[in-house]
């Protein structure tokens, strides 16, 4: 039944074209001398140069990267704990509740998460005086809240596929539960932890809506800067930025692919 049919393959080709042509055009026009998308007036690195001197954008990027890294790290810890709970602790009380709380952030519209988080922070500030002002920490907390749900999905499926007799064997050989977890379980789910971390990092770096709600004056993330400049229309600097992002992602993929092949 593995015969490939023409219509199927053309839909596939169309789909990939649909996904990639916009990105490729962005990259192409990031080298365009002209400010206008329609006119090709010559090859140039001009916009990359401007990008590298855009202080505001660079600051925002640095803030976003720091938030994303901290977010990813904490989200991996919390998401892994949640996955442990769901896979290793059977039918505890409140299991359904936890599953619900871990599924909801995956689909919840950003505007709702953003608004509700902001209102929480405001209420907390009023009652206990924390957080004192909004910015780095509030954005990070908000990002962790939905990122951990994604991490939990990734780690959970890896844990569930793991042969539980490996852990039993370790215990049978004299390892206490904590040792079993550190020496056997963690090394075996490490790839899932890594992809969970990368996923959480990307999600955070990508978020405009939630960050806009929970950030305060002085804390402007990269997507917020991008948003304010693209609202004005096409901006070649953003093209250049997009190309850099794509190049970085492609590089990461190639590295991951090569290291996977080597193992």
């Amino acid at each position: 039944m593995r015969r490939r049919s023409w219509p199927l393959l053309s839909v596939l080709a169309f789909g990939y074209a649909f996904l990639y042509v916009p990105i490729l055009l962005l990259i192409l026009y990031s080298f365009n001398e002209s400010r206008l998308v329609t006119v090709w007036s010559g090859f140039s690195f001009k916009w990359y140069g401007e990008l590298l001197h855009n202080r505001q954008l660079l600051d925002a990027a640095w803030l976003s990267v720091r938030i994303a890294a901290l977010n990813a790290t904490i989200a991996v810890v919390l998401g892994t704990l949640a996955a442990n709970a769901l896979v290793r602790h059977g039918r505890f009380r409140g299991r359904t509740g936890l599953e619900l709380l871990l599924t909801a952030p995956l689909v919840m519209p950003d505007v709702i998460i953003g608004l509700s988080m902001l209102l929480l922070f405001v209420a907390l500030q009023q009652t206990i005086g924390w957080p004192d002002g909004r910015g780095f920490s509030t954005i990070t907390i908000a990002h962790i809240t939905f990122s951990m749900a994604y991490v939990a999905v990734v780690v959970r499926s890896r844990l569930a596929r793991m042969d539980s007799s490996l852990e039993e064997a370790a215990m049978d050989l004299g390892a206490r539960p904590l040792t079993v977890y550190l020496r056997i379980t963690l090394p075996l789910i490490a790839p899932a932890l890594l992809s969970g971390w990368l996923l959480a990092f990307t999600l955070s770096l990508d978020d405009l809506v939630i960050a806009s709600f929970v950030s305060g004056p002085g804390a402007t993330t990269l997507p917020m800067v991008i948003y304010s400049s693209v609202r004005m229309g096409v901006s070649p600097q953003i093209n250049a930025l997009a190309s850099l992002v794509v190049a970085l992602v492609a590089l990461a993929v190639v590295i991951a692919g090569v290291s996977l092949r080597r193992r």
Binding site: D163, S165, L166, E168, A169, A170, M171, D172, L173, G174, A175, R176, T179, R183, I184, P187, L188
Partner: protein, 393 residues
């Protein structure tokens, strides 16, 4: 089929010294012998299912003990209970006189070889074997020595730097065995130790496992669904069904003297003739068979007249004659309905006058160039009083 008795050998490199050089050959026959593993009325429930149902069992030091049964009979659960990977719903488990019922697996003097082998994929063969020793915080030198000893013992030294995914099935089995033996456990549990090997390798490994066990003097408890495997290797076998132990005995006794219909049917093939005792003649009883006619059988237990019984006779204990012989005590007439040629033996199915189907095997002594017997041929099936056993259900 021979039983492989456990005999202490004077081996200088014995890992676990046995308490005495001369242990009784059959410690379970010795009323004074203290069992090494004592399972006392253990029940394990999973929800409504009784995986192990009120099981009591004694296993003696140096035994090669097998738990035999079909899948879902509770044999693996019983093994996991011994390992401490499950805790009984009720009942106690003693190992070497110590109540270990509540002892977690990592504190038990027991090691297990898992059915999937459960080799740690992120460690080399060497590291796998060393893992348990590290948990005991043995000094590095001693660990290295012990690992070397195990690699030697199982002849896998050249594999020591490999990872599990670079090993064949047979090699993995050896590594798993080495790992579970590295801590010199007094009791080794083996869950389907040969289940993942192909047939030829399995046969060789059976004998190796027995040799190893005799050499090390460790008590082995294995779980298997393969009766041939259990017969070849075990000192004793416990046949299990639906969470209960049906019979515990030596392979010979299990085969020749099953204690009931289940065991008789579970081990090998058997012909069962139902009937009722009508007369007692010394050691023998006369049974009125349902197929019509009388059978004279040796009965090990006295049964009163009128007891409904089942006579169990193995296919190879029946004689096939073309004419009735003089000394046949029990005899049935029939026609050959099916012949299955298996090479070493042939299986015949005889349809008797009463409609009963009798199965029997004949060894093919002569090269089979022509058919001695053929379909639809009239034959006689005969057996003596000692050819089978009389079972009450």
């Amino acid at each position: 089929m021979d039983t492989l008795e456990v005999q202490p050998l004077n081996e200088s490199r014995r890992l676990v010294p046995s308490p005495s050089d001369r242990r009784p050959l059959e410690p379970w026959q010795d009323p004074k012998a203290a069992p090494y593993v004592r399972i006392e009325r253990v029940t394990k429930q999973f929800g409504d299912v009784y995986a192990v149902d009120d099981v009591s069992l004694n296993i003696f030091q140096g035994e090669f003990f097998s738990l035999l049964g079909s899948s879902g009979c509770g044999k693996s659960t019983l093994l996991r209970l011994l390992a401490g990977l499950e805790y009984p719903t009720s009942g106690r488990i003693y190992i070497d006189g110590v109540d270990v019922t509540d002892v977690p697996p990592y504190s038990r003097p027991v090691n297990m070889m898992f059915q999937s082998y459960a080799l740690f994929p992120h460690m080399t063969v060497e590291q796998n074997i060393e893992f348990g020793l590290k948990q005991d915080r043995l000094p590095r030198r001693e660990r290295a020595e012990r690992v070397g000893e195990m690699l030697d013992l199982l002849r896998i030294t050249e594999l020591r730097k490999r990872r599990p995914d670079q090993l064949s099935g047979g090699q993995r089995q050896r590594v798993a065995l080495a790992r579970s033996l590295a801590k010199h456990p007094k009791l080794l549990l083996l869950d389907e130790p040969l289940g993942a090997l192909d047939k030829r390798l399995r046969e060789n490994t059976q004998f190796e496992l027995v040799n190893l066990q005799e050499r090390l003097g460790i008590t082995f408890v294995t779980v298997t669904h393969d009766q041939e495997e259990a017969m070849t290797m075990s000192s004793r076998i416990a046949v299990m069904d639906a969470g209960q132990i049906m019979q515990v005995d030596t392979p010979t006794a299990i085969y020749e003297f099953p204690n009931g219909r289940f065991v008789a049917e579970f081990i090998g093939s058997v012909n069962l003739f139902e009937g009722k005792i009508v007369e007692i003649q010394g050691d023998d009883v006369l049974i009125e068979a349902q197929f019509g006619g009388l059978m004279q059988m040796r009965s090990l237990q006295p049964h009163p007249i009128g007891t409904p019984v089942v006579v169990a006779i193995r296919p190879e204990k029946l004689r096939l004659c073309q004419t009735p012989s003089d000394d046949g005590v029990n005899r049935l007439q029939g026609v050959v309905e099916d012949i299955a040629y298996l090479g070493d033996v042939s299986i015949y199915r005889i349809r008797t006058g009463g409609g009963t189907l009798v199965e029997m095997t004949l060894t093919n002594i002569q090269p089979r160039t022509e058919q001695a017997l053929t379909w639809e041929q009239e034959v006689w099936v005969e057996w003596s009083p000692t050819s089978g056993v009389v079972l009450t259900e």
